[in-house]
């Protein structure tokens, strides 16, 4: 086994059984995976495809029916591997009667961290996830987005080498999603390995280095995101400042080379970018309607 392999699964299978031990669902079938040091690895698939099962097996929350999961070089059911792991579950399953500080302090105590380091880290993390203003409120008063943030802080309390994120962006507003993605990228920059699963394709595409696509418990595709998404037989050109004649000329050139022109149009921005720019604008100039210039809605922007 290469030394930079952080997670390895060998023919990992999981069959859920009913009370009498009869097989009910084959949730995962002979999965072979390797997650390497320092990458962001995405597990992708529709609901019920075995993503969460894989993560639970890797964390030792479930026991495999057959096969083996090795996490940080140790069997997944061994407790000692947890020293270097952070885990953000599907929904942040935290104690609702604790406040943010108490939550992080409690989880921090489960690790072998000196008290002063722990206290300092609790404060840093609360600030980093932007909950400084609500750190004394019980989690039951938190909104979903706030719970996600404290959940992520909880997963980072031990400064782990491997962070496992189960649907990290669900329930977050677009700003939250952006921030979550930035945080994940920052973790990568800090040399951490991230394993995440999601069915939100855009998120995975944005941040993952490598992905595995699961369907009905079986691995369907595995590889680098940029390789997988490259469409070899098409060429995309983006240019600015071309007039009508120039565009016609390009069409002619394509026709001359027996190419097929698929589209040539003014691009639209993504809704995410639009939304983010509106919110930023509104924060910069509070109390005014946002004046994001958009060529298609000149009449409406006059009221701004």
């Amino acid at each position: 086994m290469a030394s930079d392999v952080v997670i390895e699964t060998r023919a990992l299978s999981k069959v859920y059984r009913d009370f009498w031990g009869r097989p009910k669902v084959q949730a995962l079938n002979a999965l072979d995976l390797e997650v390497r040091q320092g990458e962001i690895f995405g597990l992708l698939g529709p609901n019920g495809s075995g993503k969460t099962t894989t993560i639970k097996l890797i964390l030792g929350l479930l026991f495999p029916t057959s096969g083996q999961a090795l996490t940080l070089g140790r069997d997944a059911t061994e407790v000692s591997k947890n020293e270097r792991i952070g885990y953000l579950p599907e929904e942040s399953y935290l104690y609702r009667f604790l406040n943010a500080e108490e939550t992080l302090d409690f989880y921090g105590r489960l690790f072998d961290i000196p008290a002063d380091v722990r206290k300092a880290r609790v404060q840093t993390l609360i600030e980093e996830v932007g909950l400084g203003w609500a750190k004394r409120r019980q989690l039951k008063e938190y909104s979903k987005g706030m719970t996600r943030r404290i959940g992520l802080a909880q997963a980072r309390i031990n400064d782990p080498d491997l962070i496992v994120l189960d649907e990290p962006t669900t329930g977050l507003d677009p700003i939250g999603v952006r921030e979550m993605k930035d945080m994940i990228l920052a973790l990568k920059d800090a040399g951490k390995t991230v394993l995440m699963c999601s069915h939100l394709l855009a998120d995975v595409q944005d941040i993952c280095d490598r992905i595995a696509i699961l369907h009905q418990g079986e691995l369907k595709e595995l590889g680098r995101v940029d390789h997988l998404l490259r469409v070899a037989e098409e060429t995309q050109i983006r240019a600015a400042g071309l007039n009508e004649e120039c565009q016609q000329e390009i069409r002619d050139v394509i026709a001359r080379h027996q190419g097929e022109l698929l589209s040539m149009e003014n691009p639209t921005t993504t809704l995410e970018d639009l939304f983010l720019s509106i919110v930023r604008d509104s924060e910069a100039r509070p109390g005014r309607r946002a004046s994001v210039e958009s060529e298609t809605s000149n009449e409406e922007s006059e009221t701004a």
Partner: protein
Amino acid sequence: MVIETDLLTFFEWLLVGGSDRLPAVLQFLLTAGSLILLALVIGFLAAMVRHGPLVAGDLTYGVVRNAIGELFVLSPRRIWAMARLAIQESLRRRVLVVLAVFVVVLLFAGWFLDNQTHEPVKLYVSFVMTAATYLTLLLAIFLSAFSLPNDFKNRTIYTIVTKPVRSGEIVLGRILGFSAIGTVLLAIMGLASYVFVVRAVSHRHTIVAEENLTSLAINHRHTVQIGPDGAKQTSTEMGHWHPIDSQEKNTEAPQELFRARVPHYGKLRFKGPTGADKARGISVGNEWGYRSYIEGGTEAAAVWTFTGVTADKFPDGLPVELNIRVFRTYKGNIEKGILGSIFLRNPKTGLRSDIETFEARDFHIDSRFLPRKLPRLRKDQQDAGDSEMVDLFDDLVDDQGRVEVWIQCLPRAQYFGAAQADCYLQATDDRFDWNFMKGYLGIWTQMLLVTAFGVMFSTFLSGPVALAATTGALVIGFFADFTTSVATGELEGGGPIESLIRLVTQKNVTSELEQNVATAIVQSIDAVLMIVMQSVTHVLPDFRSFSNVAWVAHGFSIPTDLVCQNLVAALAYVFGVFVGGYFFLRIREVAK
């Protein structure tokens, strides 16, 4: 105070054992060993069904190897973190409301506690302690049985077990946390109930001079008399008396009301009606064979032999307390007790004192003081021509410090019932408040046990089922005697299913069932069930034996040996339950 089995000293109990029981250490090792063996076999078989023998062996070995690593390398820091969580959880679930309930119970206790009682201390003490026991145990069951299942339900357990926490630490942390809450609650309840009892029962009278009587308080009055030191004092009523203040208008606070007697017990044997030695007296038909009876007007006697009677311990004479039960074959004067006689006898020389008479009443402790100089038996006097008196230590106590107390019943056809604990030398009193605290310590051990069992059951059962299981363990524990006698077939009426059939068909417990195939099947199922019952009762703690309420209520100091035995036994149970909880949690799939 009923003491059915002789109390062993702590070390005898731990290492030597009694006549019908093994030493505690051996008992623990045997039980623990057989349970571990059973668990391994069951675990192996279950794994074999699913994975075949080789993998099963591997898995079993893995579990055992892990266990040895994880059970004994516990981190105090993590246990404390888990315990703190349990405490915070309890506090935020507002358990302190229980204190308010307890205070309300105390506030209104005066309404429903019998004010006609002759033993107010007994009534109040047993009331407050029982109330505290039920409240605390109920709370302990609910807290412990629902906590872990809630973690599973809310999946908060996911974030715990993906941290480097060992299953044992989760279990132990929970037990410690909830016990800490229980401890605080019990401490507050103990203090509140102590104040309540003392204030409710303490009383003063005013002197009604012309009648030489005191006023009525808590349903009694005293007469005024001259005490042994020459000062005026009241008579002893309901086990206590009052000094009278200098103005002779009011009494002072009651004396000897709150007691914690430290009895010096002897060994009991019997003499039959002809004076022959007997192991037991006559049965008067009571099902409870605790006391046996001696016939009046015959040579029959109950004889207690006390050892270690020295002049240092009892310088002025023997303070004997008697709690003789009376069985009347004719009514006689029901207002009066039955006359009995008491004398002392030297077990070696056979020299005895003359009889003294007393009136035996049911449920009444008769305190007698036998002074150092006692009248010699008249017959002996004539024979020996000696002095009229015998000396306690020179004549009646033999060179090994032994002396016999003989009790006989005087009227013909009346009977005295006696058990070993019914006659004792009352040398000293312990502090009542200290004894009260020891009583609460008994409740504390029960709370600890219930908490531990609740947590253990909740590692593999859902909340309500864990609650039921813990309650079941508690009930079986409280009725351990009964369950054992059903399980051993000592009780008429067969096993559980046979009893059910008898109930439904309204058959007498002693009549034989019809011998046919159905009966045979039922009885063989019962035989298996009875073995299971016997093992279960053998393993579960006998909760009643951890309760010391009766001692405090009856005014007896709880022996330190008993306190130590209970504490050690409880800790042994907690340890066993902790190991069990560890295994159940470790082999369980946390996620679904």
